[in-house]
């Protein structure tokens, strides 16, 4: 049988190296560029979303729109369709059009857009806020090292350390070892890289990774990947799924089996699923804070307020200092935000 988890998640600062950044706001501000917009009303912002087709993204977009309305600046949303090249072209066209003076970018591929965001955009007088995926090869970095010079800030919570903590959670829940499978996003995506890195280092000895599949984050692919893994590994204990949308398919495949599904996403559905026991746990994500904080950095800059170079979402006030890992026992301490 499975061992029960030995304890609640500990404080989430397990391996964060970015601790000090939050306190360096003053010196950070000195390194920031001067924005073209002289007042918040003059901000003309373009938001390059990696796509628009799931709830996570929709939640972020909607909050950002509301925020722009509240602050009274103009906002255009570009749908990157999960395609790095498309997004690159959109950014290039936006720079050329001269219609924008601020970008918020959720990169589909942080490497592709590196130059254009750190050199071309600033040269055109555009300030750039980066979120979710670090750019310029910083995607496996930690803490403040996820911020790239040339941009004003990086807002994120899905860095390597979170994956490392996630691995630790599983190990703690299964002190006697386990057979583990992973359902990941696209192979070359930053999340998969961090996920692979963390699991490779963390699961050794009695903790054994027996299978992993890359997908496009859709429910359908999550389902078929999980189904075949379950079929060929009847002795599997743990399935880790990197996004709630996929997890919906994963739990269909593991239904009736003695497999604990760990979810990353923390949407309304996953809260319900944790409650009903379909999911062992989920990880809170904050799409609303993510987009709004990125835009707020621009607003702060225009207003001459300090701008942090790194916003760590896993330490967001919304979590009230709690760990982002949600178990059935701790469910009522959290509310899903999408």
């Amino acid at each position: 049988g499975c061992s029960t988890p030995s304890g609640t998640s500990t404080s989430s600062s397990v391996s964060t190296t970015g601790g000090p950044t939050a306190t360096h706001s003053a010196s950070a501000l000195t390194g920031q560029p001067t924005p073209k917009a002289k007042s918040v009303k003059e901000i003309k912002m373009a938001f390059f979303s990696s796509a628009t087709s799931n709830q996570y993204l929709q939640a972020g977009i909607n909050s950002l729109k509301a925020y722009a309305k509240k602050e009274g600046f103009s906002l255009s949303v570009f749908d990157g369709k999960f395609n790095a090249q498309t997004q690159y072209d959109q950014i290039q066209n936006a720079i050329t059009s001269g219609k924008y003076n601020a970008f918020v970018v959720e990169a589909n591929d942080g490497n592709l857009v590196c130059n254009i965001l750190t050199k071309n955009a600033p040269a055109a007088g555009i300030v750039v806020s980066v979120m979710n995926i670090p750019i310029c090869g910083r995607d496996t970095n930690l803490g403040a090292a996820t911020w790239e010079p040339g941009t004003i800030t990086y807002v994120g919570g899905q860095t390597l350390d979170v994956y490392q903590q996630w691995v630790d959670q599983v190990k703690k829940d299964y002190p006697n070892g386990a057979k583990i499978a992973m359902i990941e996003g696209p192979q070359l995506g930053a999340n998969s890289k961090n996920f692979d890195k963390a699991t490779k280092a963390g699961f050794t000895g009695k903790w054994q990774v027996v299978a992993k599949q890359y997908t496009d984050y859709t429910t359908a692919q999550g389902f078929s990947a999980a189904q075949t893994i379950v079929q060929s590994h009847p002795d599997l204990n743990v399935m880790m799924s990197n996004y709630s949308g996929m997890s919906q398919g994963v739990v269909q495949a593991t239904g009736g089996k003695n497999i604990a599904v760990y979810d990353f996403g923390g949407d309304k559905w996953s809260f319900g699923a944790v409650k009903s026991g379909k999911l062992k746990s989920t990880i809170i994500m904050l799409p609303r804070e993510e987009t709004v904080d990125s835009a707020k950095a621009v607003v702060n800059l225009v207003e001459g307020k300090p701008v942090k170079k790194f916003y760590n979402l896993t330490k967001d006030p919304k979590l009230g200092g709690k760990s982002p890992f949600v178990y059935k026992r701790t469910l009522d301490q959290y509310t899903p935000e999408y």
């Binding site: 929709q58 890359y214 859709t218 949308g245």
Partner: protein, 294 residues
């Protein structure tokens, strides 16, 4: 075949079949399209539309039956539109369906407001919604029955009826069919309607299984379905081929995918092996078949 121990276990066979029931019934429709000398790239978009309508209307009306009917209707409407554009306006089916594909996807996104419809969030609707995918008859899941029934009916329709023969004639020699007084345009259009309805149904089956309807699925379905038909040995030039060939094509591709998943071969080597096996299978087929006269 004992590629790996669990391969022939009923549960695995059932997996293989359910996972491929959607692409399978789309391939059945695609067989008609290809034999008629056509091409349909819009099946993936129609599949997504079917699932989106099914989930959306089930949530909005509270009735899975209404959802089901609207999904079928959506597929049929797409098919009629494709058929009219291709046969009346005389547009190359490749471009026509590439175009409608884009339109359909756009409409599905607009309808769903760019987010998935999650039926599982309304537990009261879930049992009705999942009937299509999870009902078991004689120990076999409904989608598998649907797959079998679609192939049997499509096979009979193609091989044993006047309609089927006329489809071959239109694809084999458009002019001869026309000279013989066949309603060439109607026939040409009909195969797209068939494929539209089947794609809508396929989308609903998968959506029913997952409890989610979303507009951004089905990206590779058109190429997969066409590959199934062509790997089976049906000629893309039209006028030739058979439904059993598509069954063979489906089994080859489905088995391959399952074996790779299950053996846990690295996905990169899977890609390489899959490509090599597909090319290999078709070249063996090409070599064994006697070459046609000039």
């Amino acid at each position: 075949m004992t590629l790996y121990p669990a391969f022939l276990k009923p549960a695995n066979v059932s997996n293989i079949l359910t996972q491929n029931s959607a692409v399978g019934i789309i391939a059945a429709g695609m067989t008609f399209v290809i034999i008629s000398g056509g091409f349909d790239l819009s099946v993936g978009a129609t599949y997504a539309l079917g699932g989106t309508l099914y989930a959306g209307l089930t949530l909005q009306t509270g009735s899975a039956v209404v959802g089901l009917l609207s999904g079928l209707a959506g597929g049929a409407i797409v098919g009629v539109a494709n058929g009219l554009i291709i046969s009346r306006m005389n547009i190359n089916p490749f471009v026509a369906t590439l175009g409608t594909s884009s339109i359909i996807t756009g409409l599905a996104f607009v309808y769903s407001n760019s987010a998935p419809f999650i039926v599982t969030n309304k537990p009261s609707l879930v049992p009705a919604y999942q009937t299509l995918a999870l009902t078991t008859i004689a120990g076999v899941l409904l989608p598998i029955w649907i797959l079998i029934i679609v192939f049997v009916i499509a096979g009979i329709l193609l091989a044993k009826t006047t309609y089927g023969r006329n489809v071959y004639a239109v694809g084999g020699n458009h002019e001869a069919a026309w000279l013989s007084g066949l309603r060439v345009k109607g026939l040409n259009a009909s195969v797209y309607v068939l494929t539209g309805v089947l794609s809508g149904l396929a989308g609903m089956m998968d959506s029913s299984r997952l409890g989610v309807g979303q507009a951004d699925v089905g990206g590779n379905l058109a190429l997969d379905a066409i590959a199934i038909v062509v790997i089976g040995g049906t000629s893309l030039l039209g006028g030739e081929g058979a439904m059993w060939r598509s069954v063979v094509g489906l089994l080859i591709l489905a088995t391959l995918t399952n074996v790779f998943y299950s053996l846990n071969i690295s996905q990169n080597w899977q890609l390489i092996a899959k490509g090599a096996i597909v090319v290999g299978a078709v070249s063996v087929d090409a070599m064994t078949r006697t070459r046609r006269r000039g």
